[in-house]
Amino acid sequence: MAILHTINKSPFDKGSLDACVRLAVKGSSVLFIEDGVYGAMKGTAKSGVVEGAKGDLSFYVLGPDLKARGIDEDKLIDGVTVVDYDGFVKLTVDNDKVQAWL
């Protein structure tokens, strides 16, 4: 069993990322989409959440949402993988189910 977690809210605005990290089992995948992509940036007051969890969880971020928000890939936390919509579909298929932290 493996869950793909999606996070679509900024970690500064909502607790979705915190809840996800608290409730995802080791080995799960987490995809940042929409306003969630801000959670993948390094050097912020919230970067520690992903940095602290990336040993246990695999983090991905949706490229089209990153670009829309003007975030260069070199601003991402090391180890976060950029995917496009095809990659989102692939993650959906490669995991058993999807948990959306709305």
Partner: protein, 135 residues
């Protein structure tokens, strides 16, 4: 895969401020007719949905909280409340509505439907589900 899937309803929002809690409950009730394996999880502000003593008269919005106490009649008896979410909000299980189900194998003994579980355990329960519905 067997014909029965494990449905998990994940409730993370407070009641009344938005309609998600109520409309989630409507899915649960309809879903009960499909004879799947059903669980509900209450996480973050979702735990507020189960607080007892709700009285919406002055708001003018329907008080849908009694519906939770009827879930046992729909054979829904696996209701997980995240311990960390309760504690952060200064709540204990005593603050929640007592949700019960009757065990027909034990002469219809009333049993608690609510299980307060730590995040680590709830994570495993989520992981063990087949379909996650998010509200």
């Amino acid at each position: 895969m067997s014909d029965i899937k494990k449905f998990m309803y994940v409730n993370r929002k407070a009641p009344y401020g938005t309609i998600y809690a109520w409309e989630s409950l409507e899915v649960v009730l309809i879903g009960a007719a499909f004879e799947q394996d059903v669980s509900l999880a209450f996480i973050d502000d979702g735990v507020y949905q189960l607080v007892k003593g709700q009285n919406t008269k002055e708001l003018g919005i329907k008080n849908f909280s009694p519906t939770y106490t009827a879930l046992g009649d729909y054979d829904i008896k696996k209701i997980y409340v995240e311990k960390e979410s309760l504690e952060a909000r200064g709540l204990t299980v005593e603050d929640l509505m007592p949700l019960k189900w009757e065990d027909e194998n034990e002469d219809y003994a009333e049993k608690d439907s609510i299980h307060v579980v730590p995040a680590k355990e709830l994570a495993g329960i989520l992981d063990d589900s087949d379909v996650l519905l998010n509200f």
